[in-house]
Amino acid sequence: MDLDPVLLARMQFAFTVTFHIIFPSFTIGLSAYIATLEIMWLKSGVERYHLLARFWTKIFAVSFAMGVVSGIVLSYQFGTNWSRFSVFVGNVVGPLIGYEVLTAFFLEATFLGVMLFGFNRVPPWLHVFSTVVVALGTAISAFWILSANSWMQTPTGHELKAGIAVPLDWITIVFNPSFPYRFAHMLTAAYLTTSFVVLGVGARYLLAGRHIEEARTMVRMGVGFIAIVAPLQVIIGDLHGLNTAKHQPMKVAAIEAHWDGSKPGDFHILAWPNQTTESNDFALSIPKAGSLLITHDPNGLYPGLKSVPPSERPPVPLVFFAFRLMILIGFCMVGAGWVGAWLWWRGRLFDANWYLMPAANVWWAGFVAVFAGWTVTESGRQPWLTQGILRTADAISPVPAGSIAFSLLLFILVYGIVFSMGIYFINRLIAAGPAGPLIMPPEYGTPTRPLSAAQEAGREALGTGR
């Protein structure tokens, strides 16, 4: 059997990292949303916010567990599958991960204990504080991991000694050129992803005529956030793209399927990039719009794919189509936000079934956009693992292909079980809804079992509702 260890290791990393990113994309936003709800509850005393916070906390607990365990896998995979990467850039990337553990992992894991189990042990303000700390922890975690990833895209602040990257200036390394854009883009993406889930769940309840007050709150908060932040995300994404054009021209050339850099680039709405003929077999294009977007001049020039040999190019069709998928979802999000805001302003938001129906069914939009965006940025960096320093093919461990294939199969099997059960449980928690008896105020110290209460409610809902 002749298996290619590089391909297998890449498949394994793509699989485990894709599985992992689903959960942070959701929990970064969800912890912030729960914190917002709890602060609103603390300030206003409105029980609805409290009930919603408790409801989403249960879903958060299940998602966070899957995020944590799949994240630990990644932190060891750098060594098991990519040991040469660990050596060649470990002096720079390792410390960034180290800071992620010190500043974020302990923080979120520890205060999670208070957030999930401390309800009848701490005063409300301390519980709210713990939730805020967890939300902050997830964002700090994103800060470091995106700094590390961005350094692999746009390495600065280091020197090469015998091929090994050695740090020179940590500020320049942490705040490398693409980091501010990537961090802002990903954090916003996570918040938007969660907003669509919240909006979707709210819309689902409204359509079913259940939990009306809570559902209205969720739909309002979701629509309000999306209407403002989705357009902002388009602007951040554009700035991120300009930054990429400056630092990783071949990634942008692949995004635009731009082969010949001697002419201004068109923007291909749709095309079929052909890597053999080094041209597009078919293209539906806006002339010179590519140049306009990237250079802000219709006659501006930017490098084409043919300026480097084929071995230096990223896989063009993958990057090209993933980018278009992301953009398509992005603009749909802007549309969804604005239409919703308009309906809200006209006072028709909660009755417009033609709006709520699709809204209840596109909870996945953010996840797909995040996945597509990461495909663009990671595949677009190929053939490099660390741009200009280390090729992906040179980064793997001296491990037999059989071991990698074996572990890949196990990952697919285990993650398949865990993921499908996780989705099943989350779906059931959503079906049960934010009902159930309210939590007693903590000072009474009554042992409360809100979760089992919610389970009872869920059982009833399942027994009669479907």
Binding site: T57, K58, A61, V62, A65, M66, V69, I72, V73, S75, Y76, F78, G79, T80, S83, S86, V87, G90, N91, G94, P95, I97, G98, Y99, E100, V101, L102, T103, F105, F106, A109, T110, G113, V114, L116, F117, G118, F119, R121, V122, V166, P167, L168, W170, S397, P398, V399, F406, S407, F411, V414, V418, F425, R428, L429, P447, T448, R449, L451, Q455
Partner: protein, 334 residues
């Protein structure tokens, strides 16, 4: 600086691994004990004793692994490929164990399956951690700074014995933890199991302590040459004393002390390993100095550790204080 930085880092990673083994040790132990505690009522209580802590406890594993990469990238790059299969299996076991905590609390018909996942995940995680330990004690073949052995080099009877030993050790930590955190029938059962487990753990410690110096010359030389022997003979004596006190405290019905005796046993076993081991980080060839990251990297993160680790320890202490005392039935999961 060139000399002592790697030593400081080796000590730090050593502390992180010890913290991991003790803290995740007791909650893995609770999972391992699902094999003898079969009633649903007991299992719910057992899970409630560790529910607020397990996530934070597991983070020490990331600090240990991450720290190894930060400070000794060349060791990390040899050890991880060398231990490829046991590490992947350990991680997958931890995946099952971690999600089982949450899933069993929301599951209905599938709850028994998630209980099995929690038990098997905890047991296999402990087993493969022991296998990795045993594999390291045996030594790892390396050439030109890369792993140069085969995919199954680690799979020896000695490594498997270490794996079983770690399961027993974690189970002891878990049982004494339950003695401390629960009451009534559950605590009594845990006390019975803890007494048996002390004997089992001692047997494994004795086996490893006899096996390693006999099989490995460098370890024999470390322990039985003069003047080393004069300094080192208290280690086994102390181990026997701690085990004796652990047994006595269990028999006397003490509730908190047995847990600390179990921790003491763990730390002494660990100390024995460190004595056998240092200064090699990839036994028997690569030392902490040969595999260290450049000083700029080690210093950068060391500053973070010195500033942040005290704060981390304070809020971890706060959590343990907040959830102090016995866990009673019906008391809140979520």
């Amino acid at each position: 600086m060139e000399w002592y930085l790697p030593v400081i880092w080796a000590a730090l990673i050593g502390v992180a691994v010890a913290m991991y083994a003790i803290l995740d040790g007791f909650d893995l132990g609770v999972g391992i004990l699902f094999s003898v505690f079969t009633s649903n009522r007991h299992r719910d209580l057992m899970v409630n004793t560790v529910a607020p802590f397990w996530d934070g406890n597991e983070t020490w594993l990331v600090l240990g692994g991450g720290g190894l990469w930060v400070a000794f990238p060349r060791a990390y790059a040899v050890l991880m490929p060398a231990m490829y299969i046991p590490i992947i299996l350990m991680l997958l076991a931890l995946v099952f164990r971690g999600v089982a905590f949450e899933f069993r609390s929301v599951a209905r018909t599938s709850k028994p399956w998630w209980d099995r996942a929690l038990w098997l995940g905890s047991t296999l995680a402990g087993f493969f951690q022991g296998v990795v330990l045993g594999g390291l004690i045996q030594g790892v073949k390396s050439a030109n700074g890369a792993f140069a052995g085969g995919a199954l080099d680690w799979a020896t009877p000695f490594a498997f014995i270490c794996g079983l030993g770690v399961i027993a050790g974690y189970a002891l930590l878990g049982a004494t933890w339950l003695v401390m955190k629960t009451e009534g029938e559950l605590a009594d059962l845990a006390r019975q199991h803890a007494k048996t487990l002390i004997l089992v753990v001692l047997a494994f410690m004795a086996a490893v302590s006899i096996w390693t110096p006999l099989a490995m010359e460098r370890i024999f030389a470390r322990w039985f040459s003069l003047p080393n022997f004069l300094f080192l003979w208290p280690v086994p004596i102390l181990t026997a004393a701690v085990a004796w006190y652990g047994w006595k405290w269990l028999a006397e019905g003490r509730e908190i002390l047995p847990f600390f005796a179990a921790i003491g046993l763990f730390l002494l076993g660990y100390l024995g390993l460190v004595i056998s081991w240092f200064p090699y980080i990839v036994p028997p060839s690569l030392t902490v100095w040969e595999t260290a990251a450049v000083p700029a990297s080690q210093i950068f993160v060391l500053i973070g550790v010195l500033l942040l680790l005290p704060i981390i320890l304070i809020y971890i202490g706060f959590i343990y204080w907040l959830f102090r005392g016995k866990v009673r039935e019906g008391e809140g999961y979520h």
